[in-house]
Point group: C2
Chain length 482, copies 2
């Protein structure tokens, strides 16, 4: 630690005291120099190494503890909290999937309906908690902008979406590494409509679409509704979709399109390495196979990491149809998402007109203002920090409360954990028992057509952190143990 | 006139003075007892017949004049304003339509985009003017309800839609003559998504759907996007779809579904007689052919008529999938519509999940409150009156300003006029020339796959009534004349 610290102190480039100390410890943990369970330097040792007061060190350690990054053990000192490493799933690449064996629609409705019941602990949803979202700010902005532009809000039904919002979206994508023209953006009813329109733009009924396995449960539902066949690709929890498998299917011509999430994947949590992203885009561009990118979690990088680049950032041939939304960053129920694609723009716009004509006006007006007033990036920094804290404190609680045989991933972004139960435990049975106690989870069977993930489930960490939530973790632990 | 008046005065059931006089004259006009161009009784004669003061008669006549129902001619008295009667189109029933000859998507985009330009006179749109909508009321209600239920507004993403809104919708449909269960209602992104989901629920790609001709231009666009074939049915401007043609195609089995608008049809303006509605529903029920009903203008009956019953009111077998929205009555850009169908409910809900997951939360919350607070019916009465006035004053202006060879219908509901130009005048050329003057119209070619209506256009009467609008009517008259 000390060399880097010394250099930076000497260079005088960082106000190195309280916040600098926090950043340094987090960086060490992220880089693996400090690992789960490791002891931190004692306050005394750290005081001398960092040349700050003991009070500053203790202040910083307490802040890290409040963030759930480290924990104090009485008469022993501070330790990095541990999360269990998830082993890669053992399944191998399989060919075309057969008919669906799970009533995904029914399961999904149970999970989503439970979000409407205030009494339930929402581990099963994928929505951020209200605490993570700028709801009052949005509301004040909405009241003001809609009052000032009432006719624009209520009467303008442009299929492509409000120009000001599209400009804000394009500017935001540029900061994420994609130079996108506002004229190539179509505003959609959330990411679901974006994915649906993208699929309809590049496939015909009966075509085959290759997707990750496991995958967000909404995607097979969309594919099924469009009479598209599903090819599940083996997907690593660390690096994403298996490129050899992709190469094989492009060589065979066995899929007419791919639908991939490269950043903070739902449910696996990985970020594809940039080299893999580039290789994937190049591979598909060479074969002229469209790549639909679901980047809905891309902005939810935890505070210490840079926002990973979308696949679209590596696209020079127009291969990637970029899909995202504000459902994870601003308001899930606003239902504002978008597609960016120059090559398929005309087709997408025509399909949008025939699908839902246009998007809600007040929401577009409000978000257009929010983005253009520069409030989005300020909010994102806070959100990213809070998402990191939420994931870490949940990992800590799981570590304390759940049987050691449970395995959990350690995502560097997003709000979701992917949890592996011992083989004999059926996650759907766990889901039913948990629901009876007022706790929802998302059972693994939702995430594949193949019943591969019956002993997995997904857990949403973005919850109000209180006794109810903490007790829910305890109760789940007991159900798993039983 | 006098017998009915006398009876009612004697019975003492009506406060018969100023308002009673207005109602009576309007009823006489609606019934045809007073016809366009007819002189009204002189003030003196009416004073004696109705046994009211001369001031009351004059007051009532002036009010009717302000509504555009009658007009005063200097030194001559008051006359019923005249609108020209539209003759039924001369085309005959044709078989399956061939490929589309018009770039409808491009034309539609031109028409819709022009709605975003504030400078343009919006005769081409089908949206009600801001003056007809309770925008400030909605906004105040939205500010309050969203503030009070911020989490519900922003976090609840139920595919079926908010329960409270569905209850309000079901109650409203009951007042329109359909007993509908809130559990059978799915909230959609406007009527477009409703129609799209209904079509997907009852057809497969390659199927044929029978529709009216002319028909709202969005409908062929939806059908085309779903790879559905179109069968255009001959449609009377007075009574709607030709039942003999329907009987013929049901006998032949040449359509897998029908999509029909029975009330204040866009663009023709007719209301199907109840007997024809019942016959249509019975015919399709007997053959188990699904009937998708587009009732988006159903609530826009002008003040003097009862709200016509939907086809769904005649449905005892579950044949009708009822589609509508609040785009014509509350806010076009809210994008809140719905489908009501018990039989196809599960399929529709699954398709909704795969199409756009859920609807905008703040809009649902606000409309749920608006409907349940009883404000909707109060607003509708005002809207219906204003729509009637808007149509009548436009008819008056056309009568004064346009060449006599132009023919116009006289709808008893809605805000649209269907206008027939002399044969040699191409409405698309007129559209282009008018647009250059800042005036949009909807050329007839949009309303059929068959280029049957090239010398027709649709005109939206719901405009702010001022010099600009009036001049636009004059300019159109000159363009037609030239």
């Amino acid at each position: 630690m000390s060399l880097d610290m010394e250099q930076r102190r000497a260079a005088g480039t960082v106000a190195y005291r309280y916040q600098g100390l926090i950043d340094e410890v987090r960086r060490q943990i992220d880089s693996g120099a400090l690992r789960p369970g490791d002891a931190l330097p004692s306050v005394r040792a750290m005081r001398q190494r960092a040349r700050v007061s003991a009070g500053t060190v203790l202040h910083a350690y307490r802040a890290l503890e409040a963030q759930g990054i480290i924990e104090s053990r009485p008469r022993s000192g501070f330790y990095v909290v541990s999360g269990r490493a998830l082993k890669a799933p053992a399944y191998r690449y399989q060919s075309l999937s057969a008919a669906r064996d799970v009533d995904a629609a029914g399961l999904i409705r149970t999970v989503l309906s439970s979000t409407a019941e205030q009494a339930t602990v929402q581990f099963g949803s994928a929505a951020p908690a209200a605490e993570l979202l700028p709801l009052s700010k949005l509301q004040r902005l909405s009241n003001r902008t809609v009052r000032q532009a009432s006719q624009t809000a209520h009467l303008v039904t442009e299929p492509q979406g409000h120009g000001r919002l599209r400009q804000g979206i394009a500017r935001h994508m540029t900061t994420a590494g994609c130079a996108v023209n506002p004229e190539d953006v179509v505003v959609t009813n959330g990411c679901t409509e974006a994915l649906m329109l993208a699929l309809r733009a590049v496939t015909r009924p009966g075509d085959t679409v290759a997707i990750e396995s496991p995958v967000y449960y909404g995607i097979p539902l969309i594919l099924e509704s469009l009479d598209l066949k599903v090819l599940e690709l083996p997907t690593s929890p660390e690096t994403g979709v298996d490129l050899q498998a992709v190469e094989e299917i492009t060589r065979q011509g066995s899929a007419q399109a791919l639908l991939i999430g490269a950043n903070h994947h739902n449910p696996l949590g990985f970020v594809m390495p940039d080299r893999a992203k580039k290789a994937l885009v190049d591979l598909l561009s060479a074969k002229q196979i469209p790549l639909i990118e679901d980047d809905i979690y891309g902005d939810l990088t935890h505070a210490q990491s840079a926002r990973p680049r979308p696949l679209k950032a590596f696209d020079t041939a127009g291969t990637v149809l970029y899909c995202s939304s504000f459902s994870k960053t601003l308001s899930p129920a606003y239902r504002v998402g978008w597609i960016a694609s120059s090559r398929y723009f005309e087709t997408i716009l025509k399909l949008k007109m025939a699908s839902s004509l246009a998007n809600n006006g007040p929401a577009q007006l409000t978000l257009g203002e929010f983005l253009n007033a520069g409030q989005f990036l300020t909010h994102l920094r806070l959100l990213q920090h809070r998402a990191g804290v939420a994931v870490q404190r949940t990992l800590n609680a799981i570590d304390r409360e759940w049987p050691a045989a449970v395995r959990v991933n350690r995502p560097i972004g997003g709000i979701l954990l992917w949890i592996e139960l011992p083989n004999r435990i059926d996650a759907q049975a766990l889901h039913r028992r948990a629901l009876a106690l007022g706790i929802s989870i998302a059972p693994g069977a939702l995430f594949s057509d193949q019943l591969r993930f019956t002993h997995y489930f997904r857990l949403n960490c973005a919850q109000p952190w209180n006794d109810v939530t903490h007790n829910a973790i305890k109760k789940l632990g007991k159900l798993i143990d039983a």
